[in-house]
């Protein structure tokens, strides 16, 4: 067996405990330094866009919450906003508020999962992961009260939300709003000044602002590079225009900033939820829309700020009960574009850190 000093190519195969799903990377290494990276994905392709051409507009809601399985409500919200724009439907106010509540709760869940797995990849052996999942369980119980399912929710319909929240939802919601800030304090105490975390993530995997814009990234990745762009502020949808919240912006664009932006976004989501608690009106939650409705011929594109970035739906209608074409602009796939330039020059041990800080969900990449 001879040891050569030329670059070797190894395959970080589709099954690996740390790739957040089935993702394959062919990495060329020179010693410990990464020289070239070739991502290969498509292992989770289920044909969502083709299936959407066979189903009616209401049935596609069930397809959308399986794309990014960690943030189902936000996928639903993006889709129904696109359908409403296409068909010109309007939504009652209580429906909009319930959508925002569900969306922000789902954003908290998604960021908790991202943070937990990021720390697991760093080697903290599951303790922060378990704490984050414990809080996620409480929020999933809220989802069960709203719509009967925890992960694949199918809660929203074109024209609003399918059913109002039950009476015992509101006390539990209040309990979560009261207890979650203490948990965030605990996580911050556990992690923010931890020297080992700082050494492992500070200055690693820098994405410059110009490069972030050129590669069309969005979401926390873009904001951590210093660009203040959030679709909830720039193109407000639902009731975001009336709510008061800030967006966290990073300065360096390294992995530490991406991680910290997500934690601060959880706090901002809690602020939004507090305002929704006080502002929510009563009334119907769904405008009367028939099950098999036929939008006018035309096309439209609508996007929202999901937990991973800008999630957009482009729908083309030919006047029938199902769309002619449904194209999804998935943020995780577009955020993978600068992966190569972020990884070159770093060591093997940094690969998992950088990839984990991008927070890619393979269900969304492959659809």
């Amino acid at each position: 067996m001879n040891i050569r000093t030329e670059p070797i190519t190894i395959n970080l195969g589709p099954q690996h405990p740390s790739t957040h799903g089935v993702f394959r990377l062919r990495v060329t290494l020179d010693g410990e330094v990464i020289v070239d990276v070739e991502p290969i994905f498509g292992y989770l392709h289920r044909g969502t866009e083709k299936l959407a051409e066979e189903r009616s507009y209401t049935q596609i809601v069930t397809l959308t919450d399986r794309m990014d399985y960690v943030s189902s409500m936000l996928n639903n919200q993006a889709y129904v906003i696109a359908v409403e724009k296409l068909a010109g439907l309007d939504v009652p106010d209580r429906g909009k508020f319930l959508r925002v509540i569900a969306g922000e709760l789902q954003r908290i869940v998604s960021h908790l999962v991202a943070t937990g797995f990021f720390l697991q990849d760093l080697g903290a052996f599951g303790t922060p992961l378990m704490y984050c999942f414990r809080e996620r369980e409480k929020i999933l119980e809220l989802f069960e009260m709203l719509c009967g399912a925890r992960v694949t929710v199918s809660y929203m319909r074109p024209g609003g939300v399918f059913q109002d929240a039950p009476d015992d939802f509101w006390p539990s919601f209040r309990a979560i709003l009261d207890s979650l800030p203490y948990f965030m304090d605990e996580i911050e105490r556990l992690l923010e000044e931890n020297e080992i975390l700082l050494i492992r993530t500070k200055g690693i995997g820098i994405l410059t602002p110009q490069s972030a814009i050129d590669n069309a990234t969005s979401g926390p990745v873009l904001r951590a590079s210093g660009i203040p762009w959030d679709l909830r502020k720039s193109n407000p949808y639902d009731v975001y225009g009336d709510l008061n919240f800030d967006i966290p912006i990073g300065t360096n664009g390294d992995s530490y900033d991406r991680f910290l932006v997500r934690i601060l976004e959880i706090r901002e989501s809690l602020r939004i939820l507090e305002q929704c608690w006080t502002l929510i009106p009563s009334g119907p939650v769904r405008s009367k829309v028939p099950y098999f409705f036929r939008p006018p011929v035309g096309d439209c594109y609508a996007s929202i700020e999901s937990s991973k970035g800008e999630l957009g739906f482009y729908l083309v209608s030919d006047g029938g009960i199902s769309p002619y074409r449904c194209k999804v602009r998935s943020p995780s796939l577009i955020n993978l574009t600068p992966l190569r330039e972020m990884l070159l020059g770093w060591k093997i041990a940094d690969l998992m850190v950088i990839f984990g800080s991008l927070d890619v969900n393979m269900g969304e990449v492959d659809r």
Binding site: R55, T58, Q59, T62, L63, T127, Y131, R134, E137, E141, E144, M145, L146, C147, G148, A149, T152, S154, F162, Q163, D164, P166, D168, E186, R189, L190, L191, E192, E193, N194, E195, I196, L197, L198, K288, P290, Y291, F293, R294, P296
Partner: protein
């Protein structure tokens, strides 16, 4: 700020969590409670209310429900129902989205409340008509606000008969407005 202080703070947090009660329970001795709106696996079907219209089969995104009625050969007059021969629900592919429950105009089909329906053969996972007839009637309150008003909780073992499960009379939609919107303006 001394150098190791972040690590020490982290260790204090872990120790505080060590001294709390664990948040997991031992299944199957202790089972966690679900909300009455939980979309469970056993379907609840009231034969007295079902007319064999097959709206549930039409709305299902996956085409799981198979309904075969016999209606030809005899004149069906108003007020009578189709005679159902087969009503199969394939649980192996069902995703419990509840669109069939949303579809049923007569509140005959409801979602159940269990989740422990594992079987050893795939063919055992189809719910045939006899099982739908004979299973205990504990419907989940998903999409059934009338059951929620009655504080029905399927997990406490309350069964409910076909006459109690009815929706109150729905207001008719504004036909003129709907006609204008969906027919005239198109």
């Amino acid at each position: 700020m001394p150098y190791g202080i972040g690590i020490l703070k982290g260790m204090m947090v872990t120790m505080a969590n060590f001294l709390r009660k664990p948040s997991t329970v031992q299944y199957p001795e202790t089972r966690l409670k679900q909300h009455p709106r939980f979309r469970g696996e056993d379907f609840v079907w009231y034969e007295e209310r079902c007319t064999g219209c097959a709206s549930c089969a039409k709305y299902c995104p996956l085409g799981i429900i198979k309904i075969v009625t016999s209606g030809s050969g005899s004149q069906i007059s108003e007020g009578e129902k189709y005679k159902l021969e087969t009503f199969d629900i394939e649980l192996a592919r069902c995703m419990f989205c509840g669109l069939c429950v949303e579809a049923c105009p007569y509140d005959a089909l409801h979602l159940g409340s269990g989740f422990e329906r594992a079987r050893e053969r795939k063919s055992d996972l189809v719910i045939p008509l006899e099982e739908l007839r004979s299973s205990p009637k504990r419907p989940s309150t998903w999409f059934r606000p009338q059951l929620e008003k009655k504080n029905h909780n399927p997990f406490e073992g309350q069964t409910i008969t076909w006459s109690d499960v009815a929706r109150p009379a729905i207001q008719d939609p504004d036909y003129e407005d709907m006609g204008k919107r969906w027919v005239d303006d198109r």
